[in-house]
Subunit: 343 residues, 2 copies
């Protein structure tokens, strides 16, 4: 072995310094701002780094430099393709800027989310990405107190002031609902995720109401069934809708997964889509095109959102106060699951 000061395998800055016959300061500079070091010295130091297989100690670095180059994200679940995709892009962009991603998931549970946020803050995250606006005020207070820059994604609400990157869930759903209404549907039902602490779902439901109001229909006519995320739950919700409100001719789901469940339930019940009932989704993930029939849905640029989120967060960390909030466009994708209302 080499002449490490202390003989536990992992070499330290001091070992490198010794090896290269310079001070620790010089080694540190070689690694962090090489232009401030003489050419020959640098080469000598770099060789020592190589020889010893030196890698900086993270804790020490974080402590001394007061930052971890680590960014955290708390998402509902990675099993939702929507978040997996966004997170993937987020991580890629982060990586490009030398940042690493810390991940936790809340399983759509507000308390769990709070725990996770605290845990990630404790892990020294320089910044944090959160999904949607809805959460207890003390989380925001905590983050403020800890001085951890925070960015909201997946939601964009002109009335909110927090930095965010996302799309207008309400407006997007309104547009889709208009299309549905345009197909002659008068009895619309909505299968939603729980709206209590999920502004995205809530806004989407409201979006449908907006569209109904716009055509002079009472928005309280909208039948809404709330259910947790999943194909099976979507199936059950669809059955419930059709049982309790048999006149329904269009079932608008707040995401594609629930919609696929609805499609499946319809098939089992012998209900033809779109001849008897139309079904719509939201997100435009892969299964939307794979479903039978292919799903009419709202296309959301998940990857772009993830990428932008990373960029924005990095800007915020740097102190560039520009572009504090960003609205992304969505787009209606009309496919076979939407058809004219039966008469």
């Amino acid at each position: 072995m080499t002449n490490n000061t202390k003989d536990n395998g992992v070499p330290t800055l001091a070992d490198v310094a010794l090896h290269a016959n310079v001070s620790t300061a010089t080694v540190s500079r070689c690694l962090n701002s090489p232009e401030r070091v003489g050419e020959k010295t640098r080469q000598r130091v770099m060789k020592a780094v190589q020889d010893l297989g030196y890698a900086p100690n993270f804790g020490a670095q974080a402590l001394a430099a007061r930052q971890t180059n680590t960014i955290a994200a708390v998402i509902p679940t990675m099993e939702n393709a929507v978040f997996a995709r966004g997170l993937q892009a987020f991580q890629e962009e982060l990586g490009r800027h030398g940042k690493t991603l810390l991940v936790a998931s809340s399983a759509y549970d507000a308390d769990l989310e709070e725990q996770q946020v605290r845990a990630l803050a404790a892990r020294g995250a320089d910044g944090i990405l959160l999904i949607g606006y809805d959460r207890a005020p003390d989380i925001y207070a905590f983050l403020a107190k800890q001085q951890i820059p925070t960015l909201i994604a997946w939601s964009f609400n002109p009335e909110e002031t927090r930095p965010s990157v996302g799309f207008n869930n309400r407006a997007a759903m309104t547009e889709l609902a208009r299309q549905v209404i345009g197909h002659g549907h008068k009895h619309i039902a909505c299968v939603s995720a729980p709206t209590a602490s999920n502004d995205r779902a809530r806004e989407r439901v409201e979006g449908i109401r907006d569209a109904m109001s716009q055509v002079g229909q009472s928005s309280s006519d909208l039948v809404v069934v709330e259910t947790p995320y999943g194909i099976e739950t979507g199936e059950r919700a669809f059955r419930q809708v059709m049982t309790e409100s048999p006149r329904t001719t269009a079932v608008m789901c707040v995401n594609d997964v629930l919609a696929v469940g609805a499609l499946r339930a319809a098939r089992e019940m012998g209900i033809k889509v779109p001849d008897d009932v139309s079904v719509t989704g939201f997100d435009d993930i892969e299964i939307a095109t794979l479903a039978e029939p292919p799903l009419t849905t709202v296309h959301v640029p998940h990857r772009e959102m993830g990428r932008c989120a990373a960029d924005m967060l990095i800007h915020i960390l740097r102190g560039d106060q520009d572009g504090h909030t960003l609205e992304l466009a969505t787009e209606i994708r009309v496919r076979q699951s939407l058809g004219p209302a039966p008469n």
Copy 2:
């Protein structure tokens, strides 16, 4: 504000100590091993922690305690539901043990993976999860030098000695291939992911060959097309297979996504599945049941694998050397995409 020693918002251990009128050691003990502190003192300290909104500084903690309670995973991509699911379970279990997950993705690129591993090691990961055995020896050497416990997932190969949790890709595929052969198929083709640095794909292909050999068929008869991951690429690969080897009656894909692509290509080409050609997948993710026709595939317990991986890694970190490697069972799921060979 409170009487922080130094007046930059974030309180330190010393501030808490001051506030509670104890030493920093006592505060530290309150937080890390409360049973070693008197009841009254603890309450006083905890109150101070609350009042000040204290959260430990990560870098300092990591430096002093020589561990970060952080575990890293490098996966090919989160957009593959297979990994998203496993990673989700992995993270959940980690969380249960107070560990946090650091994530990076390699996009199935060996060089990128190496970079990521180094980056995560530099971020102070206490342990690391890697997918599959295949990678440059210097990555393993680096990890060993850094003394970072490493666990391999998604592969279990009796001939390998590294700690791993996974399933026998080869044996599982052999079993599926036997079923295919049992349906009378003599001209089998395989659509594979690139096998160069992916032992999982390679083993699956070999698994088919094994089954062919077992029935006395020359394994070199197997037509193999390699293509990157994706539905579209699966489509193209299927076209290529059917063009170059039109006698093919069964196309075995090394994962469900490629298989769904194959199914789609078949439909576009007017080839009936399974009447003209049978198609199989691997993984049994959601789209396998959603596909038309539903896909015959190998069910892999992704969630369980993620959970076990977390448990094993934690054990390894603790120094419990038990259960160094774990084989999980897979199961063939026969669905409509597999039928008897046309005569």
